[in-house]
Subunit: 353 residues, 2 copies
């Protein structure tokens, strides 16, 4: 069964339940968040991660923040509480675009709700915010399913599929993006084998992708990142599928570091390389990959793992979070709207119109 | 300064000192082996590793084994002790060709020594064995230096060099193979930057290569294996240099898993790919890479790191120790005898003649 990274339990006075991804795969621990501070901590410390999942968690976090605003307050006080909750959660991860997007959406919903009716009470405002958070969540679930339905035909019976990082259910409110394609193929009775790159330095592939595919009953094998080329050489890989963090207007795709190398290795071995992502991942303000700024992350992610030191003190480390795969090396981009084969600027513009 | 993985201290009643590589890079601990059992343990548990270093350690291990044979014993008893010591150490690592080679060499030396003189005493036999162990060690040191001298011209001033795994001083009695090339370039005053792939699963790059380059005062930066392609794309890499575990008659080269991917990525980015190895690494009984059997290692090397679990219990793992790089993707093989540019069967046969 496909796991669910997070869900709201109950009505307007309910709570947010989420899988603590810091504990995976050693233990399946569900956090019960009844206060906004717990959601802030969960986002900040990566208990919940993945752009869509963070957005959904933030929407529900605001619902929790507004539970502290008593029902006898007036709508102006309610909006003040809403604004405060949004500002607070926005500081949990400073570069998470989906976080800001979701917070802006619930804030705007609150403003509209109050503006539309005189003497609106706080409880009704809270209900409107919950409805919006639920809508964000529901849309995310639908988006995931549609990506899977649009892409499942690329997963052939008897094939070997390589994936990198975690673009799965744990990164969304639904069944993921790249992994949704696999789940939909599985639903249709196809048998295939998945190889999950462990994805250093943070090992999302080994820890999360392997775990959720295993939970779903899909045959999964973990490999170290440096083994992917050798698997391809041996003919074990029929297709590569990854998610995306940002896609430029021409189709160049920023994704977890290591994706670029896979795209080159896939081309060398005549293996199609697919990207699966929501259509909101396109950033048409960016013409091509050269314009994408690559975040560098802390050296200690590479120097150590858990309690173990893996490199000498003081040694230099290069730790880019992402790299950029060229559109020309992507066989197709699979979105919730459909499929763009051999993506280029014109086809992408048409797809998004 | 270039570190020394191991050295013999004193004369025939001396001892073997070696760096405990299991403790690196956290601590520099030197093991003082005064009994053959300690050498056995050191080889078995990878306190000493790298084919040349294991061979040298084994030779000295036999010297220690024979210290238990009192000087008043006769030469027949001495040879029995020699044989027993060799058999014992040969069981420390069942697939280490250099281990068997070194043991065979000291055993043969003992046989010849005794056969050549009537009434040879045990002490003289022990001295002959020590002389042979010293010869193995000295030849290894010379071999390393010659590889470095033959290859240093490929390391240009101001360049960025990528290496994989550990083909350094820690793997030999001397200054290594691939890293010897870097040390010789450094001696000639050239400035360059080295990127060390961390080399999952056992992290020899992060733990050992980074440490010994740092000790030698060479500018070294550790990267995760999946970042190499992206570094190349950015123009940061001028050359790749690795060691080799076995080279076929046509130049196809088995080396630590991940090397194959690097060779493809290097070709894609027009970066020369060098292999540095002793000429004894050639196995002319093997025509090409397809004949090389690849050892698969335990799944737990990938599933966990140190105390940390990185993949779910029971998940499948593929863990090949090596892969094979095609001769056509190797710019040159650098050996103690010289350089084979664009290696092929004819050039290699000529080189070894």
């Amino acid at each position: 069964m496909v796991v669910r990274a997070l869900r709201w339990v109950g009505a307007v006075d309910g709570f947010l339940e989420l899988i603590d991804q810091r504990r995976l795969p050693g233990a399946l621990v569900k956090l019960r968040c009844t206060e906004i501070e717990q959601v802030y901590e969960a986002i900040k410390t990566l208990a919940v991660r993945g752009a869509p999942a963070i957005g959904v968690a933030a929407g529900y976090g605001v619902v929790l923040g507004m539970q502290s605003c008593a029902d006898d307050k007036n709508s102006g006080q309610g909006l003040a509480c809403l604004a405060k909750s949004c500002d607070y959660l926005a500081s949990a991860r400073p570069t998470a675009v989906n976080l800001f997007w979701a917070l802006e959406r619930v804030r705007k919903k609150g403003d509209e709700f109050v503006a539309g009716r005189t003497g609106a009470d706080v409880r009704s405002l809270r209900e409107a915010i919950l409805a919006e958070a639920n809508a964000i969540c529901r849309e995310d679930i639908d988006m995931c399913r549609r990506i899977g339905e649009n892409g499942e035909r690329f997963i052939k019976d008897g094939s070997g599929i390589l994936t990198h990082c975690n673009a799965g259910a744990l990164a969304t409110a639904g069944q993921g993006t790249a992994l949704s394609v696999l789940f939909e193929a599985q639903k249709r009775g196809r048998k295939f084998k998945v190889y999950a790159d462990e994805t250093r330095p943070l090992l999302q592939g080994a820890r999360l992708t392997a775990w959720e595919l295993q939970q779903a009953g899909i045959d999964v094998t973990v490999i170290c990142d440096n083994m992917a080329g050798w698997l391809m050489k041996q003919g074990r890989i029929s297709a590569v599928i990854t998610g995306a963090d940002r896609i430029a207007a021409n189709g160049d795709t920023a994704n977890k570091v290591g994706t670029y190398s896979l795209s080159i290795l896939a081309r060398e071995h005549d293996i199609p390389f697919y990207v699966a992502a929501p259509s909101s991942t396109f950033d048409l303000g960016i013409q091509g990959g050269a314009e994408i700024v690559i975040e560098e992350r802390p050296a200690d992610e590479v120097r150590s793992f858990g309690e173990s030191k893996v490199a000498p003190d003081g040694v230099g480390v290069y730790n880019p979070a992402f790299d950029v795969t060229e559109a020309g090396d992507i066989a197709a981009i699979i979105t919730d709207r459909g499929v763009i084969e051999k993506p280029d600027t014109a086809k992408i513009a048409e797809h998004l119109r």
